[in-house]
């Protein structure tokens, strides 16, 4: 794989994860537990979609075949998507959404903080914006994880169930393959595998405040980053892409 191919692939992985996370968050509009939370979840969705635009826009420029972020978002099929699978799991209840956003943002914040020093100026610039947003999501969703975990019996059970269901999918975030290695060697990408210890310490501290127990490491599915997804992604894309696919010549 050439450097250009690896960089393109990397941008898709970052951009697709942000896009799919954003699409799931956006499903909350008009459905959140309070109007205040409706606004907060929409803000999170907007941050993720904004990051997706930047990463996919850059992916298109790296590829050099005239595809922009819209073409990449709307005219690729599920097996061409490179998002981590944790992003595509259905939105679930409010506990599932905030636990997922907390687990992901805690990873992404650490990752983008390292990416500020990327030898690739474009990625470093995107990291500058994304890091701040992830820091806020981590804090906001972390506070909600604590409230739910240490709230009522029902909220505790729901938060624990969400954590148990999500836990297997966190490991994929820390995996690295040949594409990542090529980028890490050139100083373009931080090494995600080295972030796990720090991430785990942070997650443990928040879960302790939330009185939630950390699940055992057991099943560790992965494959989203190479296009092997769960059954959920194709449905998400069918909905998201319906207009550009129905009217391929139209501009919106």
């Amino acid at each position: 794989m050439s450097k250009v191919d690896a960089l393109f692939e990397t941008c898709l992985r970052l951009g697709d994860t942000a896009l799919v996370m954003g699409q799931r968050l956006a499903e909350w509009s008009s459905k959140a537990p309070t109007v205040e939370l409706d606004i907060a979840l929409s803000n999170h969705a907007l941050d993720m979609i904004g990051q997706a635009q930047l990463f996919l826009g850059y992916a298109g420029r790296v590829e050099g075949k005239g595809r922009d972020e819209e073409a990449l978002a709307y005219h690729r099929q599920d097996f061409e998507f490179r998002n981590a699978m944790i992003a595509e799991l259905p939105k679930g209840d409010f506990a599932f959404t905030v636990v997922r956003q907390f687990l992901f943002a805690s990873f992404a914040e650490a990752f983008y903080e390292r990416m500020l020093a990327s030898t690739d100026a474009d990625l470093a610039a995107i990291a500058g914006k994304a890091e701040k947003e992830m820091a806020y999501h981590m804090r906001h969703c972390g506070e909600w994880v604590v409230r739910l975990g240490d709230g009522t019996e029902e909220s505790h059970q729901r938060a624990q169930a969400a954590l148990d269901e999500l836990w297997p999918y966190v490991h994929e975030l820390f995996t690295t393959d040949d594409v990542d290695q090529a980028m890490i060697e050139k100083g373009i990408l931080p090494d995600a595998s080295t972030l796990k210890e720090e991430w785990l310490a942070h997650v443990k501290a928040v879960m302790a405040r939330a009185t939630l127990s950390l699940p055992e490491d057991d099943w560790m599915p992965s494959g989203g980053r190479t296009g092997q997804h769960t059954e959920h992604l194709a449905y998400l894309l069918a909905e998201m892409q319906v207009l550009p696919r129905t009217y391929p010549d139209a501009k919106w």
Partner: protein, 320 residues
């Protein structure tokens, strides 16, 4: 301001004079019960409209045809939630709780703008709502920035400032469709056909059929009559439709050279009243969505209260 002194007739007279002189009324001031009740009804109805109004457009967020449009739409629907909150806070200064207002909405006791009881069947409906519904809302709302009740006027200033982008994005969206493929243009025309009359009806019944109008004008809760505002909207929108190369679905529409105004055909008020009574095509769906979201979120709201109580108890224990 009007102090609580003298007979109620005297207070009422002083109040009317105070308001007539374009002074503001603030939450702690004395006010006639009718004034308070009218405001609670109007402000909460306005807040409910913002909240229920999130649904028709929100219906297309996950299917917006570009990332750019998705972000715009999310931000717009989010603004509506924010505007609902500004207005609920303004109403709360009149001694009505948000719980009560929300309960009244969900029980069907409180009303909201009927237009949100129409379905959004195509993407063009998102454009039509921004262009027509927000266009009509702005015509309605700008005068309310000078409403006599301070908290309402201040909330409206904030709302109007933020809403200026809503109508523009709707117009821009319609423009993209009308200048796009034949299918897109047909989609835009179809949306205009379905949203035009409900938008015209948004200004409420004609003046001679609007019993509270005179008192509300005197109290400066309402600054222009329904028909005057409607005319302003029509004049503005007919020109915009021409710029979009779309046709207003009214065979009787004609320009009156003498008055300088566009005149429209007969408005179907039977349809309007049917929708107000809850018989709009999407009325039940909108209410069901609101009730479900509220019921589904109960455990979250309770958890936050339980946690806050635990935290307070822990803080007290630590201090002791």
């Amino acid at each position: 301001m009007v102090h609580e002194a003298g007979s109620s007739d005297e207070m009422r007279e002083r109040f009317d004079a105070w308001v007539a002189a374009e002074n503001k009324v603030e939450p702690q001031d004395w006010m006639p019960e009718g004034y308070r009740k009218t405001l609670v009804r109007q402000i909460s109805q306005h807040a409910h409209s913002e909240i229920i109004g999130m649904q028709p457009e929100g219906n297309w967020i996950t299917r917006a045809p570009s990332l750019r449009r998705k972000a715009i739409l999310l931000a717009k629907v989010q603004d509506e939630a924010g505007h609902g909150l500004y207005l609920y806070s303004a109403a709360e200064t009149l001694n009505v709780s948000r719980d009560q207002m929300e309960a009244d909405l969900m029980s069907g006791k409180a009303k909201y703008s009927s237009i949100f009881n129409y379905p959004t069947l195509t993407w063009a409906d998102v454009g039509a709502i921004g262009w027509l519904v927000d266009g009509a809302a702005i015509v309605n709302q700008i005068p309310l920035c000078r409403c006599s009740y301070g908290p309402y006027a201040r909330a409206m200033i904030r709302v109007c400032k933020e809403e200026s982008f809503h109508q523009r994005q709707g117009f821009e969206l319609m423009m993209a469709l009308s200048q796009g493929t034949a299918e897109q243009k047909a989609m835009a025309q179809d949306a205009l056909n379905r949203w035009w009359w409900p938008a015209v009806q948004m200004f409420g019944p004609p003046d001679n059929d609007s019993p509270h109008s005179a008192q509300n004008m005197a109290w400066k809760i309402k600054r222009f009559s329904n028909d005057d505002l409607r005319q302003k909207f029509i004049d503005m929108t007919v020109k915009q439709a021409q710029a979009l190369d779309l046709e207003i679905p009214d065979p009787d529409l004609k320009y009156n050279e003498e008055t300088g105004h566009w005149e429209i055909g007969e408005i179907d008020w039977d349809e309007f009243w049917a929708v107000v009574k809850g018989h709009g095509p999407a009325s039940r769906q909108r209410m069901a969505n609101k009730r479900n979201a509220h019921a589904d979120g109960a455990w979250v709201r309770e958890a936050a209260v339980a946690f806050a109580q635990k935290e307070r108890a822990r803080a007290q224990k630590a201090a002791a």
